[in-house]
């Protein structure tokens, strides 16, 4: 969600809504709430402390005609857009690493086929592989929701779940 009038300079917390992507540096935190089958994709360059978070909803943007307008909506185009914007801001392509979280399968509906969460995870892995970006950590799948907080400066991705069996429900990637 875009906030108007935020002071530049001070570390801020930015919410990354569905289909959005945000690139930032330093101590800002980028947050996505309540991911179910959506996938959070975090890319960062440890050397320049530039990174970004995308909240992707669908796997395949190349097959969609609005992916130019909304690159963050699709896992593949979101990864490319994050990478491009990070490099434009001074990140070095070759040192960029990736972390992903989300992609649950909350319901077993017939219309969902093999699982819409799984499709998003597979698409992100394939695109990262194609671009040569190492996937260094992931917390994906399952049948529960996740909230993620990403700090580009440190590359820290904190994943919170509402799953009662999980360890306090907090995982740090």
């Amino acid at each position: 969600m875009k906030t108007y009038g935020t002071e530049p300079g001070a570390p801020t917390s930015v919410q990354v809504g569905i289909s959005e992507l945000v690139v930032s540096d330093g101590d800002d935190t980028l947050k996505s709430y309540g991911l179910g089958s959506c996938l959070a994709i975090a890319l960062y360059d440890p050397d320049s402390a530039i990174g970004g978070l995308a909240h992707a909803m669908l796997p395949d943007g190349d097959a969609a005609d609005n992916s130019d307008r909304k690159p963050g909506k699709y896992a593949d185009t979101a990864i490319r857009a994050l990478l491009r914007r990070m490099v434009e801001q001074g990140a070095s392509y070759t040192s960029v690493e990736a972390k992903i979280a989300g992609g649950s399968d909350m319901f077993e509906f017939e219309s969902f086929g093999d699982g819409i969460g799984q499709r998003n995870i597979a698409a992100a892995r394939a695109e990262l592989e194609k671009l040569g970006v190492p996937l260094v950590a992931e917390d994906v799948g399952g049948e529960y929701g996740r909230t993620v907080e990403f700090t580009p400066g440190s590359g820290r991705l904190v994943v919170k779940t509402a799953d009662e069996s999980a360890d306090n429900g907090v995982t740090e990637l």
Binding site: T6, M57, K73
Partner: protein
Amino acid sequence: MKLDVNALGTFYRMAREGAGLAAGRLTHMTDVETQVGVTKLNFMRGQEIQRDFEDATETVAVRVQLSGAIEGYSMIVFERESALRIVETLRGDSDEIDAGAETDDGEFDEMARSAATEVGHIMNSGFIDGWADVLETVIDVSTPEFVQGETAQPFFADIEAAPDDDDLALLFQSRIETVDTEVGFSHYLFPRRDSMASLLDRLRTSGGIEYDKLDGFDRMAERGAEEVAQAATTMTGIDTSVEIRRLNFVSLEAIPEQVADEKLVGVAFEFDGLPSGYLLFLFDEDSAHEIADAMVPMDVDGDGDGFGEMETSAITELGNIMASGFLDGWANVLDTTIDHSPPEFVHDMGTAAVDPVIIQLGETQEFAFVFDTVVVADGQEFDCEIYAIPDEDDLERALNDLDVDRIEGTPTTAEFQDVTNT
């Protein structure tokens, strides 16, 4: 007058664009951080709009008349307290809200009035510029008018474009909030019907749906909600009634935005027929516990936070009965058959329960008609939000097949009741 998804999609972009510009200008003027909340297109009857304005608190509005590409009225509405707060911010007072912006009899004084009018006008202009950008055209704006009152009367009585009690109006609704404070605004656009019709003609890319058939939508929403409230009362013994019933047109991404940012209990279904789609019942945790208690009166295995097997199955069963009632209500109006899947229970972050549905629909559509319904109980915790999201193509077909004359004869039994539950 006919509409289709492409035309409504353009309207939606107009509302989004306008809200963004209005928020930006408010920030520029007051140095207060703002953000745009949910933006939707609503189809509402005149009487429901009036109900919105008669919700106890006094309201202040700034309205302008539009001519050119869109004719009608644009209105920024704030609760009185919000208006006073903004006025204080503009004056640079950091004192109490009531530091002199009102006269003794509670009226805004002249300064406050003109400051509020100014803010409202700047925001109206933001919206209108946004629409003009999207439409690539010119919209002319009259001088702003300050309106104040406790009922809908002063706001609408003299607006010809405002819908009569039973007329279904297309409304642009956006909410702009200031960050960290309790100031919010709503925005309404009441377009003139003929101006709307010519705009729709221009934007339409398909045959579309006859506007009058939207009555069928409304009747679906009404019957579905009524059946749910009845089922809930029968199953739980708790008297329930329909508090909100609304048909929205939104981008898929906007649907999770309006779901509470907390752990909820839900029962989800997919349904198949004409139309097919998804149906979700969401309860807050307290309501879910109370409902389970009402259905399984023994002190069962509820361990405070979680939901035990008995509670889970009670709520799932309730969801199942409510779903059948809801979809039967639709099928009756549309004269079709709609089947639904077995229920799926979920106790998780609310948005996480909604996003799979919008992802699945997102493969083929960008926007959705959402039937929003809220069922509440008098004096007890029973807050149930219902999201019914049909497949767009199916819905269009179902509506086109609908014989409007036939539904005219269908008796209307759902009544809004005043619920004093807080």
